[in-house]
């Protein structure tokens, strides 16, 4: 919308510029004779120019000319008609002024008014003479006038600087610059001074003072320069305004657009070639349009149209296929919407049996649109390639419809005949009317007319007197026939129109429905692979053709991926076409000019200039060309696919950014965790060692032992941590080898409990075991480590006075160990996460002495045994219950067998 209004503004401006230019041309002409100083010969030149005009037959009148008693000037005046001056009484003086009213009344073509800068005596209509001249110009009278450069308003200050004279009588510069012509009257300063000295300008006594004050060589040279500049500037501004108008006219022209309307039966090639010649001359864009009214069902016809369209495209035209029940009704809104101002079309053929019918170009001209309509009548022989004969399908349809008509009329006749005894003639005819209406609604005009005729004869033969004869003997019968024919003529076209519209509606519904469902499918597609698969599927369904999408894995030749996977490998020609389309981003293969021997047609799927994929379609062999519907459908669908592709790419980018951020977060958590866990014991050790060295004299024995203990314990802690770290790395690499042996579960748990007591003497534990526990074939040390880690966790997180329970049970296949505490528990979503390496609930070092690796190591070790470890809520939702499940040996053996 914004764009539209902008264009409208542009146009308005261009129109203004044009108008202004035209107005200027029509306006009365103002010619100013500009001089640097009095006495250069302005009035003289003006009179000479006027004389020339008069010789050309122009009606010239002198409004006012000051001769300053110069003889040569006065001599020129004698030939002209002179308006009498107006006498005005002013302060006991009689002054003579230019008589504006007299001039306006006289209405000459050209009037001469000297001294533009003159100030009128008070009591005149205008204060200034240039205002008088304005009025003359407005009245359409051309004016010649004179001006000395020092009177220009914008030069006032400059002139004062140069000459020291404060010029009171000034003329606005706009007035001067708006003049059509400014003539610079030049006289070299030396000559002017000479003239002045000779008394040719002023009377002698006055001339002397003027020479001393004003007419110095310097002054005159400077003023001469100024005058020259003004003349040049005025000329430049005139040139510029002309140029503006010219370029704007050109711009206006390039907003033009030629629409070439190809109708169902016009000679498309002829029109398009002619249109091209026109647009080449005019340098304007063009548009080739065909209105599909649903009448053209003939395949050959369609192909012909398509090739015309592609020719137009080759010539650089835009092409458009519109749909609507009537060409005129569809094209007029289109013309208005696209602001088209020229239409080229064929003259069309006037059906000789309908001479009243107006041709489309006539209708266009009469539409009232501001249109240039160019009509071409194609040469006779050139119009032949298009068959005007009825298409086959229609012929068959007609034959069938006539048959139906006959049957319907027969039924109507039988019905009427049997009802004859009860009903009168007028009612019986209604039965036939119904039959004709039905026929016309169902089969259109032709069938309606044939059945109307049939109905009439049948009615006449069977139901009117004399019976069983075709003799028409009543006026009523004639009117019956006419009535039936009128019904057929009225209903038939109406019905065909309705059917055509219905057909179009169905067609466009199918089109939009397909696109809509595709959009829906695409909206949930989340990978490029699925996108191409879906596109191929949908296209294959809606075009009833075999369809594949090819994407490229790398820039290498023929390194591609096919969706859905092709059953057979493509032939060399197909691969060549794929490469060609990839390189040129143009359609190739069947129905095109490139590698058309291929069975496939190859369409590029591009985003801007980048090729994303190639669409391969193999149509049924009977199909001879791509219909515009199919082309549109392919274009629309691939466009949707491109949009979806872009969306998927964006989502992927976001996702990868998120993953990167997560990895970064993990890395920094890991780093801070490692640094904390390594540094904490290290700080204590270093501090203790430092203190021993530094403060040795002040330390008593017990403190010294305490510091040494600190060093020993902390180094053990550090060692444990490093051991864990190494274990973890090994598990992570999956190269942990476990050496198994038969051990009893109670031994393992017992040793873990002993170890935990050593570190956490206050911990309360309880161990229960089902009777008859089998021996486990495991690595005792690793399993003990697992149980120790879980226990350590439990001890740290549960209150000191709460018991930690261990329970071992077993069935035929698995041994289960449960360790439950009464701590704060773990929220459901975190129960899996705690097994992640370095998972840290709180950040950095803000947690109990926890390596963050313990549980991850547990999971790795249990997995190495083929078992699982999971965290669950404790009983009654209090605390945490760790569940370790280990397969028994029998189970492991059977698994191995299964694997082999």
């Amino acid at each position: 919308m914004a764009d539209d209004s902008a264009t409208a503004d542009d146009r308005a401006q261009q129109a203004d510029a044009l108008l202004k230019n035209i107005q200027q041309q029509q306006k009365a002409q103002l010619k100013i004779f500009l001089g640097a100083a009095p006495g250069v010969g302005k009035t003289f030149s003006m009179l000479n120019a006027a004389k020339e005009q008069r010789q050309q037959g122009i009606d010239v009148v002198i409004g006012l000319v000051e001769t300053h008693q110069r003889a040569d000037t006065a001599a020129l005046l004698t030939d002209f008609e002179m308006l009498p001056r107006k006498q005005i009484q002013y302060q006991q003086q009689t002054l003579s002024e230019f008589d504006l009213d007299a001039a306006l009344k006289r209405q000459p073509e050209l009037i001469l008014v000297d001294e533009l800068a003159h100030t009128n005596v008070s009591g005149s209509r205008h204060k200034r003479r240039y205002q008088d001249i304005e009025e003359l110009l407005a009245a359409g009278i051309d004016v010649y006038t004179t001006l000395n450069v020092q009177h220009l308003e914008n030069l006032h200050d400059l002139v004062m600087q140069i000459t020291g004279i404060d010029v009171r009588e000034t003329v606005p510069q706009d007035f001067v610059y708006a003049a059509q012509e400014v003539v610079f009257i030049d006289l070299p300063p030396a000559n002017l001074i000479e003239r002045l000295q000779q008394g040719k300008v002023y009377a002698e006594e006055y001339a002397q003072s003027a020479l001393e004050n004003f007419f110095t060589v310097e002054n005159i040279s400077a003023l001469r320069e100024l005058a020259l500049k003004v003349a040049i500037e005025q000329m430049a501004s005139q040139v510029k305004s002309e140029q503006d108008a010219r370029t704007k006219r050109f711009q206006y022209a390039i907003h033009d657009k030629l629409l070439v309307l190809i109708s169902n039966r016009s000679n498309h090639y002829y029109l398009i070639r002619n249109a091209r010649r026109i647009i080449e001359k005019r340098q304007i864009p063009w548009l080739v349009v065909w209105v599909d009214t649903g009448q053209t069902t003939n395949e050959q016809h369609k192909n012909y149209l398509q090739s015309a369209m592609s020719l137009a495209k080759d010539f650089g035209a835009e092409t458009e296929i519109l749909r609507g029940p009537s060409t005129l009704e569809t094209i007029i809104p289109f013309i208005i919407k696209n602001r088209i101002n020229s239409v080229l079309l064929g003259s069309g053929i006037r059906a000789s049996w309908r001479p009243w019918r107006k041709r489309i170009y006539q209708k266009l001209i009469e539409s009232g649109l501001p249109l240039e309509v160019i009509v071409y009548r194609s040469p006779k022989q050139a119009s032949h390639p298009i068959s005007i004969e009825e298409p086959k399908l229609k012929t068959f349809g007609n034959l069938r419809s006539h048959l139906f008509g006959a049957i319907t009329v027969t039924i109507a006749t039988l019905l009427a005949h049997s009802l004859h005894p009860w009903l009168n003639q007028a009612n019986l005819i209604l039965i036939f009317v119904v039959a004709v209406v039905l026929m016309s609604l169902r089969f259109g005009l032709h069938a309606a007319i044939s059945s109307a005729l049939l109905a009439f004869f049948s009615f006449n033969f069977f139901l009117t007197e004399p019976r069983y004869s075709f003799i028409v003997n009543q006026k009523d019968d004639i009117s019956t026939l006419v009535l039936l024919l009128i019904i057929a003529l009225v209903c038939g076209p109406a019905a065909s129109l309705i059917r055509r519209q219905l057909f179009l509606l169905e067609e466009s519904n199918r089109y939009s429905e397909t696109l809509r469902s595709l959009a829906q499918t695409f909206s949930v597609v989340n990978s490029k692979k699925n996108l191409w698969r879906e596109l191929a599927k949908t296209l294959a369904n809606s075009l009833r053709a075999e369809c594949h999408i090819v994407t490229f894995k790398s820039k290498r030749h023929l390194d591609y991926q096919v969706y859905p996977t092709a059953a057979s490998v493509f032939a060399p020609i197909d691969e060549a076409a794929i490469e060609w389309t990839r390189k040129h981003r143009e359609t190739s293969g069947r129905f095109t000019d490139t590698l058309s021997a291929s069975q496939w047609t190859f369409f590029p799927i591009c985003k801007h200039k980048r090729i994303l994929a190639i669409l391969l379609l193999r149509f049924n062999e009977s199909i001879t060309g791509l219909s515009p519907y199919n082309k549109n459908l392919i274009a629309a669908m691939t466009q949707q696919a491109v949009d979806a592709w872009q969306r998927i790419r964006l989502v992927n980018d976001l996702e990868s950014a998120r993953v990167t951020a997560q990895v970064e977060q993990l890395r920094s958590a890991l780093l801070s965790s490692v640094s904390h866990d390594l540094r904490s014991p290290l700080s204590a050790m270093m501090g203790a060692a430092d203190s021993l060295r530094l403060l040795d004299p002040q330390l008593d024995l017990s403190n010294r032992i305490a510091l040494i203990d600190t060093i020993v314990q902390e180094s053990q802690r550090l060692d444990r941590y490093i051991e864990n770290l190494i274990d973890m790395t090994r598990i992570n690499h999956g190269d942990i080898k476990i050496e198994r042996d038969w051990v009893s579960i109670s031994d393992i748990i017992g040793s873990a409990l002993t170890r935990i007591k050593r570190y956490f003497p206050h911990a309360i534990t309880e161990y229960r075991e089902e009777p008859m526990m089998p021996l486990l074939y495991v690595n005792a040390a690793l399993l003990e480590q697992v149980i120790f880690n879980v226990l350590e966790n439990a001890v740290k997180y549960s209150p000191d006075d709460e018991k930690i329970t261990l329970h071992a049970a077993c069935n035929a296949r698995t041994c289960t160990i449960e360790i439950e505490d009464h701590g704060p528990g773990i929220a459901e979503p975190l129960r899996e996460k705690i097994f992640d390496m370095f998972y840290v609930i709180a950040d950095g070092d803000q947690r109990q002495h926890n390596t963050g690796m313990g549980l991850a190591i547990c999971r790795g070790m249990i997995a190495a045994h083929g078992g699982t470890i999971t965290a669950l809520a404790g009983q009654n939702d209090i605390g945490t219950r760790f569940l370790i499940q280990l397969p028994l040996q029998a189970e492991l053996n059977s698994r191995k067998k299964h694997d082999s």
């Binding site: 904490s680 204590a684 203790a688 430092d690 530094l694 002040q698 330390l699 314990q713 070092d845």
Partner: protein, 231 residues
Amino acid sequence: MTLKIVIIDDETPLRRMLRIALQSAGYDVAEAENAATGLAAIARQQPDLVLLDLGLPDQSGHELLLELRTWSQVPVIILSVRNRESDKVLALDNGAQDYVTKPFSMEELLARIRANVRDRQPSTLPLVLDDGNLRIELAKRRVSINNIELILTPKEYAVLARLAQSPNCVITQKQLLHEIWGPHHQQDTHYLRVVISHLRQKIGDDPAEPQYLKTEAGVGYRFMFDERLMQ
């Protein structure tokens, strides 16, 4: 009078080690293993200095510091494994006097403790700092190197004097900018960098290995001065 120090750290071995070391160095020591008991200990003991770990089980050290500063100006030295500048700046801005990263040298920690405890008692601060090379007379606004008086701009002198008033203590960039340039220039760290570089030039400090004006990267500056000469 013995000075009292409260240690707030969740690592038992570290606390024990610190207690022994500090007691042997002549301080009274109280311990706390988390933020709650730590604050209670400060309130009860009225210590002369606090050693604070940032990673505490119940609350972060930063939060504790903010809370503490609402009612006490006791000098706080942060003792933490976190060595990111952002942590240091945050702690110092929140009102900590100094920041020592673990693992640390006991000697350095003791020196920092002495510096910060002294900083609390302005009367003990000598008006003249002289190590034979550099001589700063705070009362006379006079700075000389090898008995040659330096000509310093007012800003240069202000920065040097501010740093010298708390020898061996870190002063954050924000603090310096706020005190010398005013509250609206706290982000203009380039002013400070220029002044420090000029100062180093004038007092003959090698920027790569400064003897007096030490940079705590991203945090602030520290005026290094042999404490034995300040007695």
